[in-house]
């Protein structure tokens, strides 16, 4: 178990690499689905950008995510990824017939 008090920093780093991975995936997804979905391809990218910005602001001051709201940022990330999943699902449906 980590006794050196760096759990917050590890968690902040985990959030940043997850948020950036989601952002990159949303950007690639937008690029690949724009043909089938048009402007709808960018919804997921838009909210991924907003979430990433919020995470960076939350972490910037103290170096750790705030201890009081994990449920909010966790649900926000779930919704971002769920939106990406719906986007790809729509692209699959739109691309097949």
């Amino acid at each position: 178990m980590d006794d050196s008090g760096l759990a917050g920093e590890r968690t902040a780093l985990a959030w940043m690499r997850t948020a950036l991975s989601a952002l990159a995936a949303a950007a690639i997804l937008a690029r690949l689905t724009i043909h089938d979905l048009g402007p709808g391809a960018f919804v997921a990218l838009g909210i991924a950008v907003v979430l990433t910005a919020c995470i960076f602001v939350d972490i910037r001051h103290s170096g750790s995510p705030s201890r009081r709201g994990p449920e909010r940022r966790a649900m926000a990330l779930c919704l971002v990824v769920a939106t990406m999943i719906v986007t790809e699902f729509a692209a699959l449906v739109a691309g097949s017939p």
């Binding site: 995936a25 690949l32 750790s64 966790a74 999943i85 699959l92």
Partner: protein, 122 residues
Amino acid sequence: MSTRSKWPQRVYADGVEPDYRFSFANERTFLAWIRTALAMLAAGVALDVVDLSIDDALQTIGAYLLVLVSLLCVVTAWVRWAASERAMRRSAALPGFGFSIVICLLLGVIATAMAIALWPHG
């Protein structure tokens, strides 16, 4: 941290605040599940977009299945985060994980089907 969120009720209604290091570890596990979901989604997109030397219908089915696995990973991430946080607050046992067999089976089926389909012929 005396003022605690009331949502989700099932997690925060009672119990005591655990050591913050355990809560952060729980959060990092949640993030690992989300990155797994993103990897599954990327694989599904790849099957959708890349033209492989296999039947188009099989590629499309694989893409749908991987998108399904991605969704299961997102649900797993949230449900396990909430259940674990709740258990820690009550000093109860962490949730079991029999459900993981579903994701394992789905991935096994997809990987086997791809291996068979991609096997060089003649």
